[in-house]
């Protein structure tokens, strides 16, 4: 139980206000996120096309290492096929042989088979597909969750608006304040650790007051961004410790059978946690899954990681649908690049940014639809080339963000959601 939950609501409020005013000079209950860029949903233009603003939440599934498109979303016949033969779906398109469960859900998904990017390096590719800009030494770009918080404000009173599961936040806030950074949950089974103080509420207040007094000299002397950012994190952390919605991070309440259905692995449980967080009103949830850098023995790799993806994603789509959340939740699946058609000397495939695939579902996206195409081998784009910027603009559009609006960074450089990419309108129902 979190610290002030031991108190009745009135005392809890009193605690928070008293602590906040005494120690840090902010009003906790008004929410910390969004205060630097106080924009409300109402200031955004009303819907300007199909699908605009259909998604209230986004679950962003990032396959780390370069997901082989040929063995998953864009299967091929002939010599480039890979370890398993494609399987047919009732939606009319085929999926890679490992995607057995997803094949049954093909009517819920759209696939972009004409993604193309220029970088074959993991870190920069991951950065690009997440933030829409090339990685630079001079500025950090926000992910879509931070953009959404900028335009729409916080999605929750006390909890952060963005969460990232199975990964570090890695500057997700970009040039926005550090309070826009996603809250990392590195292990979904343990949830949000250390949410409870080992001191009594009274003791904790005294500690916090003294902390503020004692550290004041240092904070005044060193007014650097790093020091200020730490102080912000302390603010936000105390507000989270006081939140009544902390159980959002605990999977212990979920039925065992459902946990089983998502797959007993970090990605499966991460997807389950994402659904739980959507229910609690967290807007943007990233779930990462590694293991895709299959240079060697791709058959073994797919057996493990392909299957984990297939099981978890299918369970997630099913679960969201059953709860009536799929219409308001956009689920996307992406990777920094695909893998080449050629099986190399180590029975694996190598990096291939030239063409690869992404998947979208829910949030106003058509079901059973394929956009664009790769050529016969899966080597190059054959139709409707789509960039990571287009892909992210599509997500922004679905969330109802003004993707053309230019926002100036603190260093006074202009940026937009998805770097002037074009939302793929054909994807929307």
């Amino acid at each position: 139980m979190s610290l002030p939950n031991k108190l009745d609501p009135l005392s809890r409020r009193a605690f928070c206000e008293r602590w906040a005013q005494a120690a840090l000079g902010v009003t906790v209950l008004n929410g910390v996120g969004g205060r630097s860029f106080a924009a409300e949903t109402a200031t955004i233009n009303p819907a300007t096309g199909p699908g605009f603003g259909k998604a209230k939440n986004v679950i962003f599934l990032q396959m780390v290492g370069g997901m082989t498109h040929i063995d998953t979303l864009d299967p091929k016949d002939g010599p480039t096929q890979g370890p398993k033969a494609p399987i047919s779906t009732k939606a009319g398109f085929q999926l890679g042989g490992t995607m057995e469960n997803l094949a049954k859900q093909a009517d819920k998904i759209s696939i972009i088979r004409s993604m193309s990017s220029k970088t074959g390096v993991h870190a920069s590719g991951q950065y690009l597909i997440r933030c829409g800009y090339e990685q630079r030494g001079t500025i950090k770009h926000p992910n879509i969750g931070a953009w959404a918080q900028h335009f729409k404000g916080s999605s929750h009173k006390t909890l952060p608006s963005s969460v990232c599961v199975n990964r570090q936040p890695q500057n997700g806030n970009g040039f926005f304040p550090s309070s826009f950074a996603p809250l990392p949950i590195l292990d979904p089974d343990s949830g949000l650790q250390y949410a409870q103080s080992d001191a009594s509420p009274e003791q904790l207040i005294k500690r916090l007051v003294l902390l503020d007094q004692i550290d004041a000299r240092f904070r005044e002397r060193f007014q650097t961004a790093e020091v200020k950012s730490y102080t912000q994190f302390y603010d936000k952390t105390v507000s989270i410790m006081s939140s009544t919605d902390l159980e959002a991070f605990q999977l212990t309440d979920e039925p065992e059978a459902l946990k089983e259905k998502y797959g007993r692995n970090k990605f499966g449980q991460g997807c389950l946690l994402a659904r739980r967080l959507v229910e609690k009103g967290i807007r943007y949830i990233e779930v990462a899954k590694g293991g895709w850098d299959m240079h060697n023995n791709i058959d073994e790799g797919l057996e493990e990681h392909g299957a984990e993806l297939d099981v978890a994603l299918s369970a997630l789509l099913d679960d969201l649908k059953e709860r009536g959340l799929l219409e308001s939740t956009l689920v996307v699946l992406c990777s920094e690049f695909g893998r080449g058609p050629k099986i190399n000397g180590n029975a694996g495939r190598d990096h291939h940014p030239k063409v690869f695939s992404t998947l979208l579902a829910g949030g106003g996206i058509k079901g059973g639809f394929v956009y664009g195409a790769s050529d016969k081998e899966g080597m190059a784009v054959a139709d409707k080339q789509t960039s990571p910027q287009d892909f992210l603009s599509t997500i922004g559009w679905s969330l109802g963000l003004p993707i053309d609006e230019v926002v100036m960074s603190p260093s006074n450089r202009p940026f937009t959601v998805g770097d002037k990419g074009k939302a793929v309108m054909e994807l929307f129902a």
Binding site: V121, Q170, D187, Y194, A195, L210, D215, R221, V227, H295
Partner: protein
Amino acid sequence: MKTRLLLPLACALLVTGLQADNEVYRTWTDTQGRKLEATFRGIENGQIFLQIRNGYVYRIPLDKLSAEDQQAAKTLKPEGLGIPADPNLAQAAARIDMLVEAGLKKAELKPNPLASDEQFVRRVFLDLAGRIPTREETLEFINDPSVSKRAKVIDRLLNSPGYNSHLFNYFADMLRMADSANKVRYYTYQDWLKGQIADNVPWDKVVYSMMTADGKLLENGATGYLLRDAGMRLDNLSLTLSTFLGANVSCAQCHDHPFADWTQRQFYEMAAFFGATETFGAKRSGKSETAAMMRKAVASLDDRRLQQQAKNLLRVNGMAIEETGENDMKLPDDYKYPDAKPGDHVAPKLIVWSDDKTKKAYQGIQTKNDEELRTQFAKWMTSPDNPRFAMTIANRMWKHIFGIGVKEPVTDLDDPNASVNPELLRHLAAEMVRLKFDLKQFLRVLCNTQTYQREATSHELADNTPYLFPGPILRRMTAEQAWDSCATLVVGADVDKFKAHRGEQYAKALNIEFGKGATPDALKTQIENALASMRQFGGNKAAPKNNAKRKRKMQQAAAQGDEEDLAVNPPVRNGLVLARASELPQPERDQHFLRMFGQSDRQIADSESEEGSIPQVLMLMNGEAQRVIGQDDSLVVETAAAQKTPEHQVESLYLSFFSRKPQANELGDAVAALGNGLTMRDLTWVLFNTREFVFVE
């Protein structure tokens, strides 16, 4: 705030320092009438220390000076930071200061005031030994009246075990040191690197060994560098070039670099030096006799599970570098430039840096047919004539100490003129060569500069403003510094004692000889023995198991008051193993203090993070570390509790956490809080959670 506090110091600085036209130079005369224009640096043991304009410091017996000058020396106040350890060192440090100050002057900026002893001792411990000083170490330094104490503590720390740990942590991040990759343990690689650091092997030799290593990972830890990326030689080369040469070539792996001069072809020509080097599946490729024999030996094992384990064991033993004798590097299938066709064979060729045509990087060692390709590459790369090799490590070591490189990012030195101070950068590279790549000597020079011994910069730099080094930059402790400092609070300086040496045990347990004359039967016996010992390493995944039995024994021993041998067993409190980060799993598990505080996951080079996060702050406020630090058996609590008055207790805690005494108002606040229901435990919590604790001034 700082101006107010340190006004006297700041004023003093205006008339001191080493600017060539400084008025504090005076002419000294000795008993024989010889003259020396120099600034007075102090007197110790009957010797006077005089620094001339080029930075060199003369040490002269006081009684050799004229009577008038002897008198003057007794009344003058020493300039600068005290007496340096030797005259050449002082000169080397002074040259760096002059270049830094020239850069500042150009921008019409002034250097920061000199740091106080308290600021200095905490910083130099963290920068050289990787942890905060204990209360005793702080007091010993502060109370030392010697004018050479700064130089002395630098030398002491450079030769302390903490130095080895701290430098290992830096390289572990840079080289993506991970216990486990490619389903194999890299313990021998870690042990090898630790050994190189402990022996202070020159950097060019260390890198040369990594580039040219041969044989099994189990038998030669230096192979770990190339084997870290087994089967991915292009990725490995891309990292090699950016990590050691600051050549920003990752783009050229797939296409011509859009901004720099690198072409994709050049990249492949470099890669061709590794074209005859097999790093994947060596020793177990289907063709060799050994492989056939191994298959036979495995097949003869009784059950499936054993066979699987044996395969893993052979995988570990098969992790090796072998020369194939033939360069098989080819251009990629999608090569699109007109100078060659996809799939063309690529001949090895070294690169030249275009801005430095007078000094070709491959001078005198161009492709010889009788030498192994990798040897040629390694010689070229680590040569003192290579204009980037020395510069890259010099810039990296500068960043290690000052918090920010002279050129950022450190992986891109394609254009040294884009550095904030190109003259300084070139000089540092030349110093690295002059010191023969001795990193310890290089760091010794850096720490003896005035630039290093100034206050940290306290203001926010405007965006895109170059940092010209008015002093070190304020930075948050690295994850390893923070962890090692926590452990220091709990167990004191003894934290440096424990060394893991996992490579030795691992190799001994798992190594299998496939020498000539081995029979399938002999192999089978070896496999069975190795499998038995492999179990202690937890099969294929976990780190060596923290043997529960051993732990219990240790706890019993502690309970019985037995002397714990800290070199063999690190102390454990509340499940936390209080050893230096360098001796813990690489990287630590996700939820460990180290990872939550930003330790790299060792997937991406140089990716240690110094950012805060909510889970991190939750951990600082409510996690195990704050509990262990505040418990009664923690050294910091024991020491403070032994003090007689609350005032002395607070002072003791301040010295332990911040390496300084509390100011009057701080003392008042803390003592009042102690009287108002807060305990010593609460006070440790408060100090631990301050910004002052996690930032390095």
